[in-house]
């Protein structure tokens, strides 16, 4: 697939940046166009793989944003994007849309810019183009608090209604000890980039090594066209190429899989992809469609294994709509299985966020209701005897 990618807000921009980094490192060519949009000038300086002229600062003239972000306020994020929609539209003039198959908009749903501005951008893209627009959204963890949960719950509705498919990523499922704020979400972003790029880049190497089982962009798009929320599973194993023998010796995964027969190895990889951390935890059986892509040296992909893996996933997802195919990568030193579970409806984490959001909204409304009264009562004495100076 060939993509135009747009990162909105800090988290979205970082993911796009990592996607480009990953595709460059693995010789893929997925992101034909990259663009990052942000309300904070400092954050816009962070991406390393996005050219200067593909970074758009919005809200510089907005009296509350001024190029300094929106303070986690989704309403301002949306307002700013709406006000500067012409600038946003203009930057798409450079995008030769006939060269891409789809557009991907990535955003963190907990922050103000991502949750507020991204749906506005998506709406505009849907108006402008016939190509599908996919969303990639990072859901805030429970510990990020009530306000981000509220932003996310509200933004999720806009996202899912407006995009052709929404791939969710749950920060909580990927949270780990020992990371410092310097590393921030780097590790998570890399994991996510690996998954999304491995999935969507399949079928873009049209001219070389096209096997009869090669996955086509249209297969992926067909799986995604059902809409809703999707989750991605991923597992990889080192492959023994003579050059990389020394390196891949360090791969634990490989060691455990060495003795397996090729077919069992393939099936095991898929099981692991689905049962290990999905981008958003979900009931696999609730998926409407599913797709498996094997990315790696064609010689490593056993036909028998692919078939048994597909059968297994059909049972797990309780759907016959399971596609399986290859993304041949001759020079790759890993074999990866990536599983797309499209339109999963059983996602406990989203329910939790919604509950947290409802509580947060109640708290916020209660505070707003008494705010002026409480300030007034604090600053006036009991009998209101004290007068202001001016």
């Amino acid at each position: 697939m060939k993509l135009a990618t747009i990162g909105v807000g800090n988290a979205g921009s970082k993911v796009i940046d990592r996607m480009v980094e990953f595709e460059q490192a693995t010789g893929r060519d997925l992101c034909r166009h990259t663009l990052v949009i942000n309300t904070a000038r400092t954050d816009l300086a962070k991406p390393e793989h996005v050219p200067e002229d593909r970074r758009l600062l919005i809200g510089e003239t907005h009296k509350k944003a001024k190029g300094h972000g929106v303070g986690g306020d989704a309403a301002i994020g949306a307002e700013v994007a709406q006000t500067e929609i012409d600038d946003i539209r203009r930057i798409f003039d450079d995008v030769e849309i006939h060269e891409v198959d789809a557009i991907l908009v990535a955003a963190g749903l907990g922050g103000g810019t991502g949750s507020g501005a991204a749906p506005v951008v998506i709406e505009e893209l849907q108006k402008m183009y016939d190509e599908p627009v996919y969303g990639l959204g990072m859901l805030p963890g429970e510990y990020e608090g009530g306000r981000p949960a509220l932003n996310a719950a509200r933004s999720l509705q806009s996202f899912v209604n407006k995009v052709d498919n929404f791939v969710a990523f749950d920060n909580d499922a990927w949270r780990s000890r020992g990371q410092t704020i310097e590393e921030g979400y780097e590790e998570m972003n890399r994991e996510l980039a690996t998954r999304i790029v491995t999935l969507l880049a399949a079928g873009e190497v049209d001219e070389s090594e096209v096997g009869e089982n090669a996955m086509d962009s249209s297969d992926i798009m067909r799986t995604m066209e059902v809409g809703g929320v999707s989750s991605i599973g991923y597992a990889s194993t080192g492959v023994d190429t003579p050059d990389d023998g020394l390196l891949s010796r360090f791969s634990e995964e490989e060691v455990s899989n060495m003795e397996s027969t090729d077919a069992a190895k393939i099936k095991g990889l898929v099981r692991r992809a689905v049962n290990s951390r999905l981008t958003v935890p979900c009931g696999v059986a609730s998926a409407e469609r599913a797709l498996i892509i094997f990315a790696g040296p064609p010689g490593e992909i056993s036909r028998k294994g692919v078939e048994s893996a597909r059968d297994w996933l059909e049972q797990e997802t309780e759907t016959v709509d399971v596609l399986a195919g290859d993304d041949p990568r001759t020079d790759s030193d890993t074999l990866a299985a990536v599983v797309l579970l499209s339109n999963v409806t059983d996602t406990p984490r989203i329910n939790e966020i919604q509950d947290q959001a409802v509580d947060a909204q109640d708290t916020i409304q209660q505070q707003e209701a008494v705010r002026e009264e409480e300030i007034e009562s604090l600053i006036t004495d009991d009998d209101n005897d004290l007068d202001p100076i001016v």
Binding site: A40, K64, G72, E144, G146, E182, D382, P388
Partner: protein
């Protein structure tokens, strides 16, 4: 974020000077030289180090009531060394906020000319810094606040010192009125409670420097976060919009602060290596430990706040962790943030960091915005009301005795006379009045006296209107102002 600072009065001038010194010391360039100080007496201007002379604006020196220097004739226990601007003897407006406001009104052209020296388009917000118990701080500060609000689009904050218990009742009265004045006008007011920070063993004047140092540390950690050069990129850097959104709800705000040392030296690395090799006995106590960061946030939460208050009454919270980003656990950062949400009961908790790669410590600064349960303010108001009632009773007696009604041009002379005669009353009156107020709070006389007393002091003010109408109007104004400001900045 970038702030312009406006010191008003002695205390304000000294504190601005301290903030500027801290700016230099910490390398956080947050004012870009956008500073001014206004005073009605040149005294405090002589004490400044970092505040450029051309930024020190003396106003009111030609006003007839100003600089009527009164010798400290009778010493009352109130007028100790602590009250540097005690009205009876201090130069300037002699502690009279009405006079301060009048002077500022008269000198608005001069003030506006000075304001041209400050570029409001280069800063994110403006901050008035004043002692709220002082005649200049409160009076001039209030007029300046109204002026800045009318000409600026950026938020205007007030950093104001509240008088300690051993300062005069008059100062308490002035400060209570200053709060009443500033909160509806300003986008946020950050009071500093001298009572909480003063040590009773020392005269307050000798502690100003220490208290100002404390305030400067907190204000820079909060407002100047991320302004040090060269700026380091950080994933969760605090943006000016975060601070402004937190303060946008208005009201009174309070700041907590705590610091821990970190090992960023080779020694730390060595210790870690020893642990890795199993050569060190102690549990892995690296600063990246999530629990350490959570503990730090808890210490800041429990620290002595700039304005002691019930943090559960806060509306919005902001926490900034300043320190080497490689030493701050992200999980600790998140759990620390969540702790604040749990402890304060608000869901509006923003968190960010200020990356200081070479710092030897991690600092947690917590802003509690719009705290509404502040016993200190209630106490201040009670004291102020008692004082005001005492004053009014006194005025009423004087009125009936000498029939000096319609005295529209009461000058400082007369006020000084009043003050002198008031002094003895200040000590037993509050108690008596308090009782009086409790037993017969609905007595119309008391209220009338208060209203009648006010115009005497504020001859040109609108206080002549009936108390109820006036009050309603003020209330409406306050609501509108606050509503507008929250619209603008939310």
């Amino acid at each position: 974020m970038k702030l312009s600072l406006f010191g008003v009065g002695d205390a304000g001038t000294r504190l601005v000077d301290k903030l500027l010194r801290a700016e230099v010391e910490t390398g956080r360039n947050f004012t870009d030289g956008n500073v001014l100080a206004f005073n009605t007496a040149a005294e405090a201007f002589g004490e400044t180090d970092a505040l450029p002379e051309e930024r020190q604006i003396l106003i009111g020196d030609t006003h007839s009531a100003v600089n009527q220097y009164v010798e400290p004739a009778d010493d009352s226990p109130d007028t100790d060394t602590a009250s540097a601007t005690d009205r009876d003897r201090s130069p300037g407006v002699a502690g009279d906020p009405e006079l301060g406001a009048e002077v500022a009104d008269d000198e608005l052209p001069e003030i506006r000319r000075a304001l041209d020296l400050v570029d409001d388009t280069e800063v994110d917000a403006a901050m008035i810094v004043a002692g709220l118990g002082g005649g200049t701080g409160c009076g001039v500060g209030s007029v300046l606040l109204a002026e800045l609000k009318s000409i600026y689009e950026i938020p205007v904050y007030v950093l104001g010192a509240l008088p300690a218990a051993d300062e005069s009742d008059e100062r308490a009265h002035t400060a209570a009125r200053a709060i009443r004045t500033c909160v509806p006008l300003a986008d946020a007011v950050l009071p500093v409670d001298n009572e909480a920070w003063a040590r009773s063993t020392q005269p307050l004047t000798e502690q100003y420097d220490e208290i100002n140092e404390m305030v400067a540390t907190r204000m820079l950690s909060l407002f100047a976060a991320g302004e040090s050069e060269p700026a380091t990129v950080s994933e969760m850097r605090i943006d000016p919009a975060d601070v402004m959104r937190t303060l946008a709800v208005g009201g009174l705000s309070s700041v907590g602060h705590a610091t821990i040392e970190v090992d960023t030296s080779d020694e730390g690395l060595f210790a870690r290596l020893m642990q890795l090799l199993g050569l060190a006995e102690e549990t892995p106590d690296t600063q990246t430990d999530a629990a350490t960061i959570k503990r730090l946030v808890r210490s800041a939460l429990n620290s002595k706040l700039t304005l002691p208050c019930d943090i559960e009454s806060t509306d919005r919270v902001l926490v900034i962790l300043s320190g080497p980003p490689s030493a701050i656990s992200r999980k600790g950062f998140e759990t620390g943030r969540y702790l604040l949400e749990e402890e304060t009961g608000t869901v509006e908790v923003l968190a960010g960091d200020e990356p200081l790669p070479n710092a030897g410590e991690i600092t947690a600064t917590v802003l509690f915005s719009n705290v509404t349960d502040v016993s200190r303010v209630d106490k201040l108001q009670k004291r102020a009301v008692a004082y005001q009632r005492g004053q009014n009773d006194e005025t009423a007696v004087v009125d009936t005795a000498t029939s000096t009604d319609g005295a529209t041009t009461i000058s400082a002379d007369e006020r000084a006379t009043d003050d002198d005669s008031d002094q003895p009353f200040e000590f037993h009156e509050p108690e008596a009045q308090h009782e009086n107020g409790d037993t017969s709070g609905d007595t119309a006389n008391t209220a009338d006296n208060n209203v009648a007393g006010e115009p005497m002091a504020t001859d040109d003010s609108a206080a002549e209107t009936p108390a109820d109408a006036d009050t309603d109007l003020e209330g409406d104004d306050a609501n509108t102002a606050a509503a507008t400001s929250s619209d603008e900045h939310e």
